[in-house]
């Protein structure tokens, strides 16, 4: 088993006087897709923000590839490709130009062939590559952002509701891409409401409630990776509370 590339221990984080994360423990290993499920306000997006160093924890620790996000944000962000929930691109730039620009922000450049490969992989049709992103649908923006995450070639992917806005075929393709990343040894932490999607692609699923992990499931070998009934029960019960 690989060492965890993301290790969160007893993390507490307050926002506006409210404990959003309250003793969170979480590990994500290389070559693993880890889905973080939870209802609204469970602390899923806050967890991602803390991993990226946007929010400073009150106590506990986060280590990303051995680096602390609040002390070494650049080292941490160099190791992470982040896909936000609501992807917004520069509307006056094309998909291609957006990719080039965001890559250069990370200090990276890619050959045109690699860019084409990534755009093909996310199934963004070629006519859109050089069209201004102002006219893109949510799904097209999402596909462009996924292509960016792939092009970053980082050891960690952080995904916030990655399949929102994607049609079923694109979601299927996205899941396939995610599997390929896992096979390359990439650690994936995915925040999602899509229980079925998570069950299809994740190796581990953690249920977050009140800022801490309350249940965890590991995928079994074989076609039915997770027993969906207890997962569904736990999730809907959680959501109902």
């Amino acid at each position: 088993m690989h060492e965890p590339v993301i290790a969160i221990r007893s993390l507490k984080l307050d926002r506006g006087g409210r404990a959003v994360l309250d003793g969170l423990d979480l590990e994500v290993r290389a070559g693993e897709v880890h889905a973080l499920l939870g209802g609204n306000g469970a602390g899923k997006s806050t967890t991602l923000a803390a991993i990226l160093g946007f929010l400073k924890p009150g106590s506990g620790s986060i280590h990303v590839g051995g680096h602390c996000p609040s002390r070494e944000p650049d080292e941490v962000r160099r190791a992470i490709a982040f896909l936000p929930e609501n992807v917004a691109l520069y509307e006056h730039l094309s998909a291609w130009e957006n990719l080039s620009y965001f890559l250069s922000l990370a200090g990276e450049t890619r050959e045109p062939a690699a860019m084409e490969q990534a755009l093909n992989a996310v199934q963004l049709h070629a006519q859109a590559w050089n069209t201004r992103a102002g006219g893109f649908s949510k799904g097209m923006r999402q596909k462009t952002a996924i292509a960016l995450a792939l092009l970053r070639r980082t050891p960690i992917l952080l995904l916030d509701e990655p399949t929102t806005g994607l049609d079923p075929a694109a979601t299927h393709e996205f899941n396939r891409l995610l599997g390929a990343q896992r096979d390359r040894g990439v650690a994936v932490l995915m925040v999602t409401h899509d229980l079925l999607g998570a069950a299809q692609v994740a190796d581990r699923i953690s249920m977050l409630r009140g800022g801490r992990v309350v249940r965890e499931w590991t995928a079994s070998p074989g076609p039915e990776r997770f027993a969906l009934a207890p997962l569904y029960q736990a999730f809907t019960g959680e959501s109902a509370q």
């Binding site: 946007f54 080292e75 962000r77 992470i80 982040f82 691109l89 006056h92 922000l105 990370a106 952080l158």
Partner: protein, 423 residues
């Protein structure tokens, strides 16, 4: 460097930014061109006035009989040539006279008879480079900077941008690129104008320094507001209010306060008092006038006694007594202007946009201090005119036509050498 180039290319892909920068560049170029044209017009006027003086002297020479009539009928051009940077900040050169035709008569009235201006002409002010720099350029900076971070938050790109390594440098680069582009939009036309006008490199550098400080000031103000975390629309509204307050309201209020602290007579009042004193001289006994004159000018007291009802030396004596009659008022007037200038400079330290505006006008030699200095040079020149003509009148020396060539000449170039870059 590559980050700056990337951000410059990125900014110049935004149509609104291109339009804003192009408009500013065009306005700065137009203002520079108009400033150069105005300076050329003033230089041409001065050159024509100097050339016409020779024709004037030749005409006067045909009929003058003595030194008194030569002094009475001869006008002497005393012009204040614009500095090589005057095109950038015309300042008071459109209101205050830059050419005076001085006679050896009472001076005070001659100094201020050109002072009254049409207030409707003065009201809109000049469209010069200084106007573009101090009034319009801040608006473009505000437009480019008010939503630097808030715009990204509102568009939903902030987290994606922040998740990139070295993202902290991104904002610095974006600010620097915007400030540099605005600086270039202003600096290039200014340098082109300075090259055309032959301004000294030190003066151009100092003027570029004023441009840079103006850009830095408004960049800092914009960033200070943008840091507040408000929405872009709130940032824009707040910055527009600050611009309005700092460039229009506060300087006008400072002007009113300075004028209230330092009350002073109008130049036109001096002119009237001087003229009344001079004209009263016709009705006073000649001997009384001459005795009063000899008290302050004993060097002429050995002059032969007056034998006829009119003599030029009596006429010029009461002219000079007219000047001396308003000497205290005149000094108060000049002291008042100097004190107002000093107080305005103090206000400039509190209000940086005002202070920078004053600095550019000082560099261009078009501020109130330069106007006072020109007036002082005219006074000194007028004193030399009296020294030249008085021996012909008081010693009753004969005046020959060739003596016109010995009359003092005003150095019109003094202004330009003084103010081509010396703050």
């Amino acid at each position: 460097m590559s980050t700056l180039l990337r951000e410059a290319a990125f900014l110049l892909r935004q149509r609104s930014a291109i339009v804003g920068v192009l408009i500013l560049t065009l306005l700065a170029t137009l203002a520079t061109g108009l400033g150069l044209a105005e300076v050329a017009r003033q230089q041409d006027s001065i050159a024509r006035a100097v050339a016409l003086q020779a024709i004037d002297e030749a005409a006067v020479a045909r009929f003058v009989e003595d030194g008194g009539s030569a002094a009475y009928y001869s006008f002497h051009v005393a012009a204040d040539a614009p500095s090589n940077l005057a095109f950038a900040a015309l300042g008071q050169r459109d209101l205050a006279p830059f050419i005076m035709r001085i006679r050896a008569l009472a001076l005070e009235g001659q100094l201020y008879e050109n002072e009254s201006t049409n207030p409707e002409v003065a009201l809109p002010g000049r469209f010069d480079f200084a106007f573009v720099l101090f009034y319009l350029a801040p608006l473009l900076l505000i437009a480019l900077l008010h939503d630097l971070v808030s715009g990204e938050r509102e568009a939903g790109r902030w987290t994606l941008l922040q998740s990139a390594p070295r993202s902290r440098g991104l904002w610095g680069a974006r600010v620097l690129v915007r400030a540099l582009i605005v600086f270039a939009a202003l600096g290039v036309p200014l340098c082109a104008g300075a090259m055309l006008s032959g301004a000294a490199p030190t003066g151009v550098l100092a003027a570029l320094g004023v441009v840079a400080l103006t850009v830095v000031f408004w960049t800092a103000v914009s960033l200070a507001v943008a840091r507040s975390g408000w929405r872009s629309a709130v940032n824009a509204t707040s910055l527009a209010a600050i611009w309005f307050g700092l460039t229009l309201v506060a300087p006008s209020a400072a002007h009113l306060v300075v004028n209230a602290i330092v009350p002073m007579p109008q130049g036109a009042e001096l002119l009237r008092a001087n003229r009344e004193a001079v004209h009263a001289g016709w009705d006073l006994p000649q001997d009384a006038t001459m005795q009063r004159f000899f008290v302050t000018h004993p060097e002429w007291s050995d002059t032969p006694a007056l034998r006829q009802p009119f003599h030029w030396k009596w006429y010029f004596a009461f002219q000079q007594l007219g000047d001396e009659h308003v000497a205290r008022q005149s000094q108060e007037y000049r002291d008042g202007i100097a004190r107002r200038e000093a107080l305005a400079r103090t206000a400039g330290w509190v209000l940086p946009p005002l202070g920078l505006q004053q600095a550019l006008h000082r560099l261009a030699g078009t501020d109130g201090t330069a106007q006072l200095a020109y007036q002082q040079r005219v006074r000194e020149f007028h004193a030399r005119l009296r020294e030249f003509y008085y021996p012909y009148m008081f010693n009753e020396q004969p005046f020959r036509n060739t003596d016109f060539g010995l009359a003092p000449r005003f150095d019109t170039g003094a202004g330009s050498s003084r103010a081509s870059g010396q703050p």
